[in-house]
């Protein structure tokens, strides 16, 4: 590696790219060449720096100076002033506290703990050498020197639980696949990320694709599988490209292929694309989709570890779950359990969205509260407004009021307080956002995404949508809330898969926490005359 005295970091995650990061990088490289700084200054692409709403951000190291809202015409000034003369361009400099870590250290003494995101924003995700320089593939080498059973034992001891929503113990899942007698087994990475408000898997794949390649390979060794498949949602063009490049580079380095690191272990990874169907995030629907069929869930049991892809034993794990694995193997299960709470080891990556000042992703130990997420990390509600409602866990999650701000979030409190964590969505709506139209949109989402295989969900989501629309339009009949309650029970009790079973959560929790909104809508409703006879 060549040594440069100064590095300029350009984040090229898709949020930054759509604000013009690629053009800035291009102008930057030209300008550096123009002033003959090519031998001293290197331009490094990274994933997201975790700073949002500041346009294109550039970071200059080792000076530790950040510039925000950079446009192409600013570049020459940065080069001539900062790089040539060493003077910070104060007009463009932004407070580094915007990067979550600083913000939190300042305001509450807590900080982010980066396990999953340890490399995102720090390394060039397209450069395998940089990943290796940060202990990359060290966990794989370590695993290959152990017995498969020992690898699984470390994972079981670490108490890692799935981050895709259901929280199933990962070590147990791997052990189930390992004990199946089969020549053919599969490791599947669920990167279909479709839960509205979730964008963490995209940033992990864009920022550190090798961590997923490494973790899937470890899973293959531990369970006796030789084929890995990453199913990435169709719109994630950059994730797909980065992952494919990572796979290619790993093959070239002998980290994938027929004889990995000279141990004789064989493993390879293929990338499949999704076609825009939320239900394909459900593990069996996803496997159906890989098998070139409509993404409709299958009966359980048997579960994927027994009969998964092509009816063979299959591990299905979420992107974030996999991203934890290399660090756990390198640092041990006790290290991992030192983060989080007794019921929930490690960290969680949350996606902050809506009326929040610093939207973006943040990785913190379990046990964090919504208040910390929204105010310390997120910088509070936009415009200094009050919170109207918070949706946690996604559309298949709970709608909460500000009484929930101080509950520590982990798997135990989820059950105790009826709070979803799900995929880690924290969507904040300011007090001037009306709740019922929002819920009508959630109802529309489930109706649209229902795969239609089972009647309760196909028809039930349509009825929920009709009732929500009627409440919004103030045309609801007096019995509609009662009917809504019956429908929600029906959905959760009789739906075939998790989509229909979880669809009621938002409405049930909203009815609990915002009863008066529903009552007001009902009181203000007039049933159109044409309909009255029927009701």
């Amino acid at each position: 590696m060549k040594l440069f005295s100064t590095q300029i970091i350009v984040p090229v995650d898709s949020n930054s790219v759509l604000q013009g990061a690629l053009e800035i990088r291009h102008v930057l490289e030209e300008t550096i060449a123009k002033f003959n700084l090519g031998s001293q200054v290197s331009v490094v692409e990274t994933g997201s720096l975790g700073i949002y709403d500041r346009g294109v951000v550039l970071a200059v190291f080792p000076d530790d100076v950040y510039y925000g809202n950079v446009i192409p015409s600013d570049v020459e000034e940065i080069v001539t002033e900062h790089l040539l003369k060493g003077r910070v361009v104060s007009r463009l400099a932004i407070d580094r506290s915007l990067s979550f870590k600083r913000l939190v250290e300042k305001e509450s003494g807590k900080s982010q703990q980066k396990i999953v995101l340890r490399n995102a924003g720090l390394i060039d995700p397209e450069n395998i050498d940089e990943y290796i320089a940060r202990d990359g593939y060290g966990a794989l080498a370590k695993a290959l020197a152990m017995q498969p059973g020992e690898v699984i034992q470390i994972l079981t001891d670490s108490k890692l639980q799935g981050r895709g929503g259901a929280g199933f113990p990962t070590g147990l899942k791997w052990a189930m696949v390992a004990k199946e007698q089969s020549e053919e087994k599969y490791i599947v990475c669920n990167a279909d990320e479709g839960e509205p408000g979730t964008f963490k898997d995209r940033l992990i794949l864009e920022g550190d694709p090798h961590s997923i390649v490494e973790a899937m390979t470890i899973a293959g060794y531990a369970t006796g599988a030789h084929v890995g498949i990453a199913y990435v949602r169709g719109e994630y063009f950059m994730s797909i490209a980065r992952l494919k490049k990572a796979i290619k580079d790993a093959q070239a380095y002998g980290l994938l292929g027929d004889d990995i690191l000279g141990t004789g272990f064989k493993f390879d990874i293929e990338v499949y694309r999704g076609g825009g169907a939320y239900v394909c995030g459900e593990e069996f629907a996803l496997l159906e989709s890989i098998e070139n069929r409509r993404g409709e869930p299958r009966n359980k049991p048997p579960f994927p570890p027994q009969q998964g892809l092509f009816s063979k034993p299959t591990v299905v794990n979420n992107v974030e779950t996999f991203a934890n694995v290399p660090s756990i193997l390198l640092n041990g299960s006790d290290w991992f359990k030192s983060f989080g709470t007794p019921s929930s080891a490690g960290t969680k990556v949350f996606s902050l969205s809506g009326d929040i000042v610093n939207r973006g992703i943040v990785e913190v130990p379990f046990g964090v509260t919504l208040r910390e997420l929204i105010y310390d990390f997120g910088g509070g509600v936009k415009g200094g407004k009050h919170i109207g409602f918070i949706q946690t866990g996604g559309s298949a999650g709970t709608v909460l009021n500000d009484k929930y701000l101080d509950i520590p979030l982990d798997f135990a409190s989820m059950k105790a307080y009826n709070v979803s964590i799900g995929s880690g969505v924290v969507l904040v709506a300011a007090s001037d956002v009306p709740l019922l139209p929002f819920l009508a949109e959630v109802a529309h989402f489930f109706w649209h995404e229902s795969c239609g295989k089972c009647t309760p969900c196909r028809e039930g989501t349509l009825q929920v949508k009709a009732i929500m629309d009627a409440l919004v339009n103030r045309t609801a009949d007096p019995a509609s809330l009662q009917r809504l309650g019956v429908l929600l029970n029906l959905l959760s009790d009789t739906s075939f898969c998790g989509l229909g079973q979880a669809a009621p959560l938002a409405f049930e929790s909203a009815l609990r926490n915002f009863q008066s909104e529903f009552d007001t809508a009902l009181a203000e409703s007039h049933v159109p005359e044409t309909c009255q006879e029927e009701t």
Binding site: S14, N15, L18, Q19, Y52, D53, E193, G194, E195, P196, G197, T198, F199, R202, V227, R233, G234, E235, Y236, F237, D268, E270, V271, Y272, R273, G274, G275, G276, A277, Y278, S289, I290, N292, R293, R294, G295, S351, L352, S353, G354, D355, R359, G360, I361, Q391, G394, S395, V425, L427, V428, A429, P437, F438, E441, V442, H444, F445, H448, E449, C451
Partner: protein, 177 residues
Amino acid sequence: MELDNVTRPAGQAQPLSDEDKRFLRELVETNRIEHHGRLSYMDIMFDLEHRYGNSLPGPVLGEVARLVGTSPAQLNGFVTFYTMLSTTPRGKHVIRVCTSGPCHVSGAPAILSSLRQLLGVDIGETTPDGMFALEASSCLGICGVSPTLMIDDDAYGNLTPEDLPRILNAKRAGGTQ
């Protein structure tokens, strides 16, 4: 022939040319997932949409079904399940406006109604000049910059209704690509 073109929905009943057939054969032969020699229908369908103007004409699907060894009905069932794919002709550029929760909170309804007005079409329709198809979409996974939309493979975020004419004009001027 002229009349045929007008009365039939584009591409629906057009017989396939020899060139089409050659293209499809090569596509199916080369489009194998690298190590297993397996086919991914999804990858093939995305390639077909690129060639056939953002939709999958019936005769093309029929020929592909034959080539991959499945029935046209099976393949049709596959295609109609996935919202990114379409069997009805769509405009040159497909606009997908995210309407899910986070974008809803940040103003997606205003974006959608401005687009309806600017384009003069409703959701699911294509402009008379064949330039834009307007679609509503579930979460696009870029909620950090909501409200959002995608035009073809490009994502746009932090939108206001005022941004839309500029974005549309740039796409229009983009010409044939």
